[in-house]
């Protein structure tokens, strides 16, 4: 119980610290305090990493219950060294390009249009990348499950469907893609196929019942359900309807990945995520396990829709049993699962795997590597290669003394 109490304390402490950051205290002087801190190499909190052109927050997946990530704990990959200061009354969303009626909306007008509130996960395309396994190079970035898998979070997003806005603008026959631009210093831009834009994309102004946090794109952002998060442009200000993919810098350069099975060519436009899950507790570094009853808990999700099944193995993959999925089980949202287990004190490996609505099953590292035409040795370079859309099953090894390790590449 001691370990449980201490993780609760840690959670409260982190939440309090983060609330301060998110309400502006930490960024009160135009982000200069954050900049000063990262230039001196110190992060203002655990689970954060700042560099000269990048700010990252990792979600402490090990520290919260249910499926909603508390907003201040939502992960962030910001391609600038400070947040934009946007005056909401001055902010406009413009829609132009191949439309009959180019339009400009104030944020207040967006709030007056028919609204939706939907629970969806977002995930960085590089979440769980092999490059983040092994000892984190910065002790401040968090526990292993946070650092390795914490670039996914799940929120209730409130906003207006993008299809409503595009209908107001009136799409012309040439329209087939759109390109969105954010109001941050890097003018983060991304192309989106019109088919998806008309399906379920939200122009969100609310997150978990409150306005978007500054680090989540205040005052408005796109939420593109089930797809890699770079599509979900923050600080959204311009949407240009176009007749071909525009291949902005981020998507061409940062969000494509070179793979050996493609003979050194790079795969781009992955769109939707495959089935994925991870045991968040017990997991490496979170606690030291004691013999007896253990509630295994974790999160599962898929870009294809709902999570149809989660299985857990507590015997190094020899057998798998179905875990309990806790309602609500929603499409393109995190699903909480638990599994009752009694640990006998012997060394073992625990892991989870997800089957999604499309019937796809989360692969083991061996299966994923085979799919990509790599042998396992490919991952054991130093540093480990980057990969995107990496959804290999995460095994946690439990030693006889109750300590827990990441053994994905062991």
């Amino acid at each position: 119980m001691d370990s449980k109490r201490s993780s609760r304390r840690r959670f409260l402490k982190q939440t309090a610290a983060l609330a301060g950051v998110a309400t502006g205290a930490g960024w009160a002087v135009g982000g200069q305090s954050a900049q000063a801190q990262h230039l001196h190499g110190a992060s203002p909190r655990r689970g954060a990493r700042y560099s000269i052109d990048h700010m990252t927050h990792y979600t402490p997946l090990q520290d919260y219950a249910g499926i909603i990530t508390p907003s201040p704990l939502h992960f962030m990959q910001q391609h600038t060294s400070e947040f934009p200061e946007i005056e909401v009354q001055q902010h406009r969303l413009t829609i132009h390009g191949f439309v009959d009626r180019p339009l400009s909306f104030t944020v207040e007008e967006l709030k007056q249009l028919p609204s939706v509130s939907r629970i969806h996960f977002l995930e960085c395309h590089a979440n769980s990348s092999p490059a983040s396994h092994g000892a984190p190079d910065n002790p401040n970035v968090g526990l292993p499950v946070q650092f390795m898998h914490g670039m996914t979070s799940c929120s209730e997003w409130t906003g207006v469907l993008l299809s409503v806005l595009l209908n107001e603008a009136g799409l012309q026959k040439e329209a087939s893609w759109l390109v969105s631009e954010g109001g941050d210093a890097c003018k983060f831009s991304h192309t989106l196929p019109l088919g998806k834009a008309m399906e379920d994309v939200i122009v969100a102004y609310g997150q978990n019942g409150e306005p978007l946090r500054v680090e989540q794109g205040y005052p408005i952002r796109l939420v593109v359900p089930g797809w890699e998060a770079p599509f979900s442009v923050k600080y959204l200000r311009h949407i240009k309807v176009v007749d071909q993919p525009y291949m902005a810098w981020n998507e061409s350069m940062n969000h494509s990945i070179t793979r050996p099975d493609l003979r050194g060519k790079a795969r781009w436009y992955h769109f939707q995520f495959g089935p994925k899950s991870v045991i968040t507790r017990p997991s490496a570094g979170v606690e030291t396990l004691g013999r007896g009853y253990v509630e295994i808990t974790g999160l599962a999700w898929s870009g294809a829709g709902v999570v149809r099944k989660v299985e857990v193995s507590t015997d190094a993959g020899r057998s798998w049993k179905e875990a309990k999925r806790h309602p609500p089980v929603l499409p393109r949202a995190h699903t909480r699962f638990t599994f009752d287990w009694v640990w006998n004190g012997e060394e073992t490996v625990i892991q989870s795997r997800c089957t999604d609505e499309a019937g796809e099953v989360q692969p083991s590292l061996a299966e994923l590597s085979k799919n990509w035409g790599m042998d396992l040795e490919y991952w054991n370079k130093t540093p480990r290669p980057r990969a995107i859309h990496f959804n290999a099953i995460q095994p946690w090894k439990i030693d006889r003394d109750g300590s827990i390790f990441d053994v994905l590449f062991a």
């Binding site: 339009l103 107001e168 087939s176 070179t258 495959g274």
Partner: protein
Amino acid sequence: MSCSLRFLLPMMILAVRVAALTQSQPRLYPNLGTPLSQAEIQSFDRMIGPEGKELPAGRGTAKEGAETYAKRCEICHGKNGENGLLRSLVIGRPGQPYRGTFYGEEKNSPSYYPYATIAWDYINRAMPPSNPGSLTASEVYALVAFLYYRNGIIKENEVMDEKTLPKVEMPNRNGFVPAVPVYPPEKKPSWY
């Protein structure tokens, strides 16, 4: 530009398909939103597509770009685009474009980009981070000329302007799968 038909045809087919799904309809909420004039659109429409149709007038050469680079870019990206604080922008040498694979840091060079317009668009809108949008169109053409020259993509005396830039042949143009993004994608497992 020999691939332009191959490039455009699937896009045209797709456009027709999507258009069928999304016929322009009358406005449902005409009291919300303000019409934009062409002048207003021109004031913010800076996103440049692969064909460079939106590129503004201007011109620059690698020599001119070297001066601007030293003043505005070198502090972060290093002398001649190498050994800077971040993102080494050069791989390959003048006259010798890089022909290898792009597994790691090589991707930081514009040699990786599929279209010549990408560097122009990004520099124009996002660089330098301390004052993005402050470079003139000709300064951006010159910077791109300088970077492409250092990467061996163009010759030192080649002029970059709204007509020549989109025609620059990028050495890694065939380095992407699929060659042109398509939607909906081919039916394949999610890991593909």
